[in-house]
Symmetry: D4
Subunit: 164 residues, 8 copies
């Protein structure tokens, strides 16, 4: 199976990013988590990313805050799909990271998820890998069913409590 | 090869969405363009999307403006990867469509591209399909090289003109 | 009397939504509170909403945060009036939920109240039901008078305290 | 049948507001269109609105731009449901009118539709009146079906054109 | 001397508004603080404001949050200068109150100060009254000099501490 | 009577600012219009403003766009009331000018009107001067009455046209 | 004298960027204008920028729109001062480019000027080079004086025209 | 070596601003920290700034919040490069300060860094002084290398911990 890499600009982003890795592990997708910065270690980004396809990676996830260039810098070095997670920081409530991640120029797409949306970034990577993988696709369907059942149970519990 | 579907909420979005179809055709990816609305034809969306995987689709692209729910409504009905194109309308400069598309809740990701970023939506779909397809991957690399060469030529032309 | 349903995408929204139910109960309007998600249980939403009119509901209230599609998804399945409550979440201060709820396309209106404005959602439902219901209308007038009197009392108290 | 009033702060808003009146007339709902300003003719607003229920009105629609106070000023004078249309003006792209209309304090709701969303304001009024009116409810269902059929036709036309 | 009235929509706004009253008292300007709501007690607002000039008021200050209509509603009832204080509430960081206060239509100005800028609202009222009042004008000049001296002292203290 | 000065940072702002001068002349208030820039001619601003009170000015109006510092720079040099007009420029739709004008620090208020709200700036200056001037106050009341009558006439005309 | 390089991501940005080059030429500063893209030709950026200091450049200017990464990508490859020009594009009025340019992480500053502020970018580069260059400093002072004189002349002309 | 001055509008900004001074001291650049206000002590600003070049300063840094005029007021009095630090305050999350600092008119640039970006302001000043100073340039390169090494170490540590 193709691997997924999760890159973050600073190890302080780990609490936000960790759910992406957790999701991937839950699905049995091999994942590598790396600290690399578009601005502080551009060579490391270039070296890792430009070799990512031949090193067995299928999807790259990049998380960054503020002027969040990491996902774009990654996307500039590969034609693998790149998922961007805008990270909320202490000012502007994540809007800067969102716009810096999603408003990419023609030719270099970044698949952007919600601000601090690491879990969905992981899931999206699984969905991408599951296009050609029946087992993964089956697990995704099962998870949707579980999620649905959990809401149905919560609905029942709430009605029991509120609507007497 | 897996097919790609492009859904739009209104046929008036066609001029914005067309570059996505053009890119896919340029890469030889089979593409189906459909008009369906999350709010006006929810059953059509459900029927089409819930059968998309078995009908040979690999990626779904959805474009909508204002309270742009289409991509989310599509993502709710499939575990295939869904790409969302926020479409700028006459008020708020596309911000409403962007937030309505990208800020999805945990469990149902939408891979969002830039406002009116249809070309990148098409390219992202190609990148996703190219993970396991050497030929597509090769074409993507070639396109990057061509894009690079074009900028180098424009740079040379500009220097010739400006920096005499 | 017609019933009112309050739908929320997650039971974690209950603290925000509860004032809507409280208002309705205060006015003696029968209310049903349900957990249903536009994205995670779309079939449950469709089944409940498409049968709502024949099941005796007159108004539907939907609360959701982030890319808040629930009210729109509800409105797509019924011609009953739908009231949307945008819920503030951890990023963007509720702006995403507001725009996702209010900027609906032509043909499918959502009656949107303020961010986290559940009490007003409940009141608006009462006002709608009171158009043809003299008793409810009388209670609404009385509540306005009480509210006015309370402010007049607070004004008097403040003047006694501050303007000596 | 209850009447609907459409109030606008300035007759220059007529082109934006007219679709609300058109929708109401299409549904056979008696409608009165008035020019009244929260700031320039507050007495006219008060006199008209405070007598609206006894004069046979069931729903009031108010449209205003910039610091759009009209809907709120109307809502302060009646317990009838009030629908607010935020009108885009020459600066800030309608955001000021939207926030001024929707962010109402507890106790005085305004049912807000999209910026320049007059057609939906009219439809919402019809939906409110249709709760207790089978004929109107039937027309609304028919209109939804027509709308659905139109999109299905457009979808077919587009496929015929694009997907050869 | 003309009096100044400070109106607030809710007594919960008192902590934000109090500095306006404090400034006015410091300058010896007679001040009356009132709780009145544009939406909940519109008659009280109208009665107080329309008689304000003949009752000896020279300037009116109004503070409100969210869809902050109070200053505009006051301005609609008088040709005295009206100062608006937008109050930050739990969502949107005060932007809604600012736009609802400042974006007034032609003909009905509101002199808007910063979000939560009650002290400046009080000062502005003093400045207005001081146009024709040498004593007040002298006190204002003295206060500016004091403010300047305080900064100069703080600058000296900081340099002593930091620039050794 | 006290004079009013209107300062603008660039003579290109004249079309936006002119309504302020027109209003003042209509009311018979002596007005002086000047081009001065907070950044390009700070000495001219300081010299003019610091002498304004003794030169017979009662109110100063300042208009500027983008990082609109002019009103603040004027307010820093006088204790006369200063009215700020934020001017919309080619980017950001006037939001930058609004925030730069209104968000003044404690101690130095600027009475801010709407973006491009020059007419209201002029009116506010008249209102300020009218506190102690019965004649001006009378003209303001008359103008309000005329404005009210005009809207009543437009309302009647519209009803004649639309509500047949 | 040190040279200044102006980099833009696309030659379509030339009309916006040209004033930067014009200013530099007016001051006699040698300037090189290049088309290079952070995302499309990252190697060209790296090669040019990492050698810029030894090739005699003193300041680098970078202009880009949307998710404007160019200035940051340049700054990541050099310790020369980098000036960023956010370029307005067809959506979001330049806010995306501004935030993507200015909100840089600690360690990699970008000196950001106004949206479309190319002239100021050029001037800032001159100011930086003028710290150690008496001749340039003198020209800058002269330009300020000329600018001041021009405003004074315009002020006089306007007064002649308006204040008769 | 040229000195750097750091100006702040209030000593309460010191915690935000201090990293700028720390960086400069780390690089051995002489630094002077001053409290001066564009609005409260404009003369102090003018006197200090207009003499800054002849007093041996090479770069001026100004920090301010809300309607942050200080950097612009400084830039108006000198042709030295001026770096602006927008400071986040209690409302609007720093957006007001950012726009008030960066959106300067043509002719008077301010080199703006991120909201609360004091460390980068200090670094940018060092970079500017290092254009002609080999020793400083060497230190900057060393700091970049150290920063890179630290990230590489953190990456290794994280991989050791996470990717077992």
């Amino acid at each position: 199976m193709k691997k997924v890499a999760i890159l973050m600009g600073s190890d302080s982003d780990l609490p936000v990013v960790r759910p992406a890795a957790d999701v991937l592990r839950d699905y049995g997708v091999p994942v590598e988590v790396r600290v690399m910065s578009a601005h502080r270690t551009p060579e490391a980004v270039r070296d890792f990313v430009s070799a990512a396809r031949e090193n067995g990676f299928g999807v790259l996830i990049a998380a960054a805050g503020k002027a969040a260039h990491l996902a774009g810098a990654v996307a500039a070095q590969t034609t693998l799909p790149v998922i961007g997670i805008p990270v909320k920081s202490s000012t502007l409530d994540g809007l800067d990271a969102l716009l810096s991640t999603v408003q990419m120029p023609s030719g270099i797409p970044v698949a952007t998820v919600a601000i601090d949306g690491a879990k969905n970034a992981g899931l999206l990577a699984v969905q991408i890998l599951a296009i050609q993988d029946e087992t993964l696709a089956g697990k995704l369907s099962q998870a949707r069913a579980d999620m649905r059942d959990e809401i149905v149970r919560k609905d029942a519990a709430l009605q029991a409590e509120l609507n007497k």
